[in-house]
């Protein structure tokens, strides 16, 4: 996890970052702002150039107009810095499937190259339909002569095991595994990156972190909005492919993995892959799927509409917008401990968190069986808290639930938390692949989900309906209870609220 072990310090070298799909939404909203933040807080190598590439013909003015509103500033110095950042942006247009265009791209990069060693990073911000073409062209025409060539790619990496294997076979013919940086932006989040530190830099949690003491682990990612106009795109994938098979499964492996030999990327990913190998394919009886319908009493117009009411979503869509699934890790540490993932859209709240619930105290002498929990709140309001019981303060001698707390806003108020994209781009530049997904991890992830995905795609499983703004289908709560999660009324609140 030490991103800095092999820092990119050879500043005499040059780095040319090419964003493929520079005219698209991802580039505008995430990639360029992350590059800007990296630049603004001095995390880019000194001599870095950024080149956009897309099919559209865009002038430099178009670029500036497009990106400027997305780049946050804080004060005059920042404004000046932004102007020079925007000024420096380069762009050429070309096709995605044509050797000629990529030869031109290569020439353009060469024309920008001034150092002896020129490293190249290609950020592929493009839809899956052009992946294969683009990567083939890059491999054939745009590899660095001196320095590294790296490609950063984003999901979707296939739609099931077969399509992934096909894609991977294609990629591995073109690039070595260590040239490919597969982004799962959850791996760039502060609290997710914190997981290994919390587990392995502390002595106090380790003795409890196993099936003898953990009752279950719950990973939650709830959104309080629907598909927001992207229903057509979403309908092709569904919630499992959208967030469960990647973001949440990644968190699960970090929570469950054995201690790696070192913080080196492959040591970490070896252990993550071992966890996945111990998980059997997900079964229907271990899942509850849901699809939201409008809530007639909803306050907003959005909430009164259901998923299939959205334009581009077929009326008879079988696509789940909600899923709860229970995973069993068959190894020494976790046998018998359910790992529960819950995720969905159009729910009652917006949050992502990891909750390790400990077993009840055996032979309890206090008559209060509320369980301990260690909670990592990923968003919003990053926090770690440990729910414990203490003697009720005062004259009482009953025990009562409270928590030991670490709220980031309260504790580290002034500390800037970089965005996931900024972190990951900087990591890729540094060659630290620990927070990128390795090919065998993805293969295992697809192995686990492919059977149920095929069943869903084939209409063999039907999602339950649930109202916009609800907790999801009640069957999901039943499933969770059945798997040894015990709800206890408790509302964590950030300390700064209490201290006002």
């Amino acid at each position: 996890l030490n991103l800095c072990r092999n820092p990119f310090t050879k500043l005499q070298e040059q780095l040319i970052i090419t964003v493929l799909g520079a005219s698209g939404d991802l580039a505008k909203k995430l990639v360029y702002p992350a590059l800007w933040d990296a630049y603004r807080f001095d995390s880019l190598p000194e001599d870095t150039r950024i080149l956009g590439y897309a099919r559209s013909k865009l002038s430099h003015e178009d670029l500036v107009e497009r990106f400027k509103p997305q780049l946050k500033v804080n004060g005059d110095d920042d404004e000046k810095k932004r102007d020079s950042f925007l000024e420096s942006l380069d762009y050429i247009h070309g096709q995605y499937d044509e050797a000629k265009s990529f030869k031109k791209l290569n020439e353009h990069i060469e024309s920008m190259s001034q150092a002896k060693t020129v490293n190249r990073m290609f950020y592929i911000a493009l839809p899956p339909s052009v992946y294969k073409d683009v990567t083939e062209q890059l491999s054939n025409h745009c590899q660095a002569k001196s320095g590294f060539t790296r490609v950063v790619v984003e999901k979707p990496f296939g739609k099931d095991l077969e399509s992934y294997q096909d894609l991977n076979a294609h990629m591995s013919n073109l690039f070595a595994e260590d040239q490919i940086y597969r982004i799962d932006h959850y791996l760039g989040k502060e609290m997710v990156q914190n997981l290994l530190a919390l587990r392995f830099a502390n002595r106090v949690f380790e003795p409890s972190w196993n099936r003898h003491h953990v009752a279950c682990v719950m990973l939650t990612m709830k959104e309080d909005f629907g598909t927001q106009g992207r229903g057509g795109y979403f309908d092709e994938f569904g919630i499992i492919r959208d967030v469960m098979q990647n973001h949440l499964l990644q968190m699960l492996t970090l929570c469950a993995m054995e201690k790696p030999v070192s913080t080196g990327p492959d040591d970490i990913r070896d252990e993550k892959t071992k966890v996945l190998r111990c998980i059997k394919p997900l079964k229907i009886e271990d899942t509850v799927l849901g699809q939201f319908v409008g809530n007639p009493e909803g306050e907003s117009e959005e909430s009164r509409k259901g998923y299939t009411d959205e334009e581009d979503v077929p009326n008879d869509s079988n696509t789940p917008t909600f899923a709860t699934a229970v995973f069993h890790i068959e190894n020494d540490r976790w046998e018998g401990v359910p790992f529960i993932i819950r995720c969905g859209k159009a729910l009652n709240e917006k949050k992502a968190e990891l909750r390790v619930q400990f077993r009840s105290v055996p032979a309890d002498i206090f008559g209060n069986s509320t369980r301990n929990e260690l909670v990592l709140r990923v968003q919003p309001d990053e926090a770690i808290y440990l729910k414990v019981l203490v003697k009720e303060p005062g004259a009482s001698s009953e025990v009562a639930q409270t928590d030991l707390d670490l709220s980031y806003k309260c504790r580290f108020g002034e500390q800037r938390i970089p965005s996931a994209y900024e972190r990951l781009i900087v990591s890729a530049i540094k060659g630290n692949s620990a927070n990128f997904v390795r090919s065998d991890e993805l293969e295992q992830a697809w192995r686990i989900f492919t059977p149920i995905l095929h069943d869903i795609d084939a209409g063999k499983v039907k999602p339950k309906t649930y109202k916009f703004g609800s907790r999801g289908p009640s069957e999901a709560d039943d499933l969770v209870k059945k798997h040894n999660f015990s709800y206890a009324a408790y509302e964590w609140s950030q300390c700064h609220d209490q201290c006002k």
Copy 2:
């Protein structure tokens, strides 16, 4: 620990509390104020009468004048309540060694008795010189005919094993063990009472609470003032008899004991006694003793004076005002884990706390060996916090020390924390002896300390000098380091400070 399991609810009964030594300092400063608070917050049985007894002839006006300033009120209602409390106080005078006086006392109590069942509690707020006489008289003349007779006694309980055994033989001839309530007021403190709840109502700490994971346990009680005019009295006892052999050793047993079969008083004290039985007598080489000298640069006049400068303290006094001692509990849970007690007067700060320091992470992969600690702050500012390492927030990937925190002031700001005396008196009334010291515990405690106390008394061990306002003799820090306590620069601060 459930003080309320057998509450004193038979309100048709009557309770008569007799405070022996009612004209003394202890009665004025602690006993009567505690009785008032118990009354004020409705913790006394409905029909309770309080009777003072002492040698002085005091009128009711004298009583009111004496006690009124000590009884805190908050608002008009309280004032009225206090007036009626004061009004109700009764008093008679008599000798401490004279049957006649105690017969008179008994008659007086009988004259106050109106219910069928009249319970009697005798609070002996008297110096040791009259213990034996008073308890003999009480036993002979003042036992209740119906209802219980209980005597509440305070340290000192002897000066060493022999004198304690002598005293105990005397007492056990007069009263059954379950009639005797030996006060150690530390057992009435919120955080001390919390210890068993924290340990046994939570699952998460238990797996780490043993020699495999704990490096050492440190109990600290530091005062930033000297003997404040009580030097003459103090010189007879010294710091070990004053706080280590009782308050701190009691905390140690609560921290170290096995889980009791129930929260019943004897189950708890059985386990506490077992801990003490596993401790060998304290050796000189496991201790550092100190005696403070004046600090010429001290700001206050007090701080420029040394211990022997105080009136009533002999110039060549060998009495320690500071002690650090290392205890070894030879049982399965704790073999090899040093329990370190540090206490002293005229030090650099005022605090009492329990610190469980966990071992370093084996085969650390993060290169930061700072240890986890669970800290219970007893005073001031009650708190529990767990020192942990997290990824340094932000772009860094180093780990850094912080804590999971539970500050009572911040969390339970409005909740009244009763005083130790109030709690214990109410417990004694309820017949809950869990927080009182049993005779076999005391015997064991004296067994542990008697050899070194005799060596000190005989001048075979000399305390090192240390300056008023310092950390104590530097040899104490060496001893602590030698026994596997690892200091790490870290300043815990209450959240309310950060949130201002």
Copy 3:
């Protein structure tokens, strides 16, 4: 367990053992032979005298004739020794409820007394009907003036909680707890005495000896014969009172107890009592009771008869001759681990053993889920063996079940194993009460069994029938399986069989 810690070495003292009921069966078959063996192997104090007391008038010749055939000898020296042992036996007759007789007994003992200190041990080998009278008379008239007075008593100690408490109240008025030696002869057996050594002198078993690793514990005591003419006596008690409430429950506590502070008798019995306190009263649904019927195909005449066919047993007797019961110890170590006791008469084999069955290996990679077991065979053929899996020897790479073995006959062939009675009498003489049952243990034991015993006595529960020579009712096997005991075909054999 160190029976020798306080050896009886003051040989200048004299010991007079009085056997009350000297003319009875117990005296003939067990007490006198045990005394003889103790004498023969030099375990009695040098100056020991043995005095018989009973109602019958017996001459010295009668005594010799009665006891001689019971006293085993080995060679001529032994024969001579036996003659002098027999020669030395003394006897007087008297009533059991008459002061006069006991005054006479006292005078007789005094007439035998020659040393300054004369210790007295009274072995009460009498039926319960005269217990109270005899103990009262002994207390009033026969206590030693110098030296100790001890009484050794045998079950039955009451028939339920109430009758036990009544008996105990009687006894505790007459003798101090440390004067009373309650025999449970199972506590004198080699392998039972071995239990604490095996558990607490070895490091290797301790980490597995708890609910995380033990699936269940099974205690078995099977007899392959029926009531053998003692049916009338047995019918009053039944199998639970006969062996489960005492012998087998005692073994259970030794297997389950926490490590004591020392091997001192009260430290051991404190921990045993704590185990019993954590066991709830036995419920009907946790038991299967049985009563044997004749097996028409049985080879012996005995086996063709059922329990109620025996003279003195009522035809409609509801008394169980077989019981399987499941106990739950609600403490940290054992919560969730069933302790199963099986016992019965007229079964398919004769053996007594303790079987600790470990849980299955989690996430087994060898595909053989046979469980480890640690077995202590109490009788016949004392042994300890640990069932383990090894690679099948030879070319195969499968794993197969075998055991690590310690057969006493094979290993310690020449070593004499004293009888339980001999051991216990010698212990009582030495004042080592560790292997005698303390009053609070018995109280707890009766608490556990009294409700179900009352239900049986009242005919609310009916035993199932089972054939003489069978495994008992099949419902018992179902109960055992339900409580996580897993049978695996395996026949342990003593190494000496293999090595022939």
Copy 4:
């Protein structure tokens, strides 16, 4: 470890085994006898042909004469079988560095090929000097067209890290890793193959198998003879390269490794490699080296000669014939537990064993601190035994040391134990590489030993002398004691001796 998971069952296929170096000693003494045993006990695929290859021109009669005396038979049937085995042996001669010869070899193999699929296994029984040539030729000219091509190679694999890496680079250019079967014949031994079964198929050992409970692990390989005429060869390598860096280190990793995800070869070797990565290079202060000198009082002539007295060994040889070394595995399971390897020639006995010594019982109440040990005796007389303490049988209540035992000769007397070579050859045929050494394991092994080997080679470290027939240098015993190994007088004996 399930060698049979992927059995070679496609008997329609053909297998041609070519032994390169067929005229040499290794072939004669180990390879052909192992092939014969595999054939004799039906472990070879049905259609297997064996072809010898060497420089010498040998007739079929030469072959028969050469091999027949080495091939054991038991009865007439065996004799007939052997005759047909010998009859079937084929042989051609050729050079080791000449394309022409290998083309001829290839043609010969082709001429033997009759099935559609013909698998080829090349057993390279040749000195290191011709490795590179032979493997290059094989790769270029002798790979199978259909079916697999596998090469079986034997140590030495280089002399240090650099030479190994050179050799490995050469090999990995010629063959894929899964074509190369590096033999360490210790991995073919019954008890070594048993290690993983014992550890991972049993529940009872796992909880103790870690630094909390293990005091140290000792691996021993002692020979009671010297270099027996092979001193010249031995002098080039020394004891560390001869047995420690391979055989004993392999056993160490099997003893120390984490549980693999499956018994698949790469899962096992992944975990073995992880252990090696956690071991720092061996330091001089953690070793004692020795070289034997003649014992003037020795009975045999051999024993009166020292190492340097042997012909071919230089008088000033610095080569160790004995080494004790302490290894530290820096991971969660083993930090702080010394792994001690002892090996040497010309010592007092001949045995190889693995000894896991458990820590002393904490807070021992029996006053006997003898430690538990689990011993795997590899040779002679395979056995597993667990040293435990029990109550001394009989009247004593002391505890005494004995063991739970599993002697293979006693228990599985009739069961044939195949030789290591036979097992490994059969495994290689089946494609089970679990018991062969993977390239990364070897790299790690050399990393650990290279610095000290270079120091020895450079004469910077001098071996201590020790007498032929002694325990080795006394400094070795000191080192062992210093690293927490505690000797206890105890002589294990096979049960069959006791039962005679």
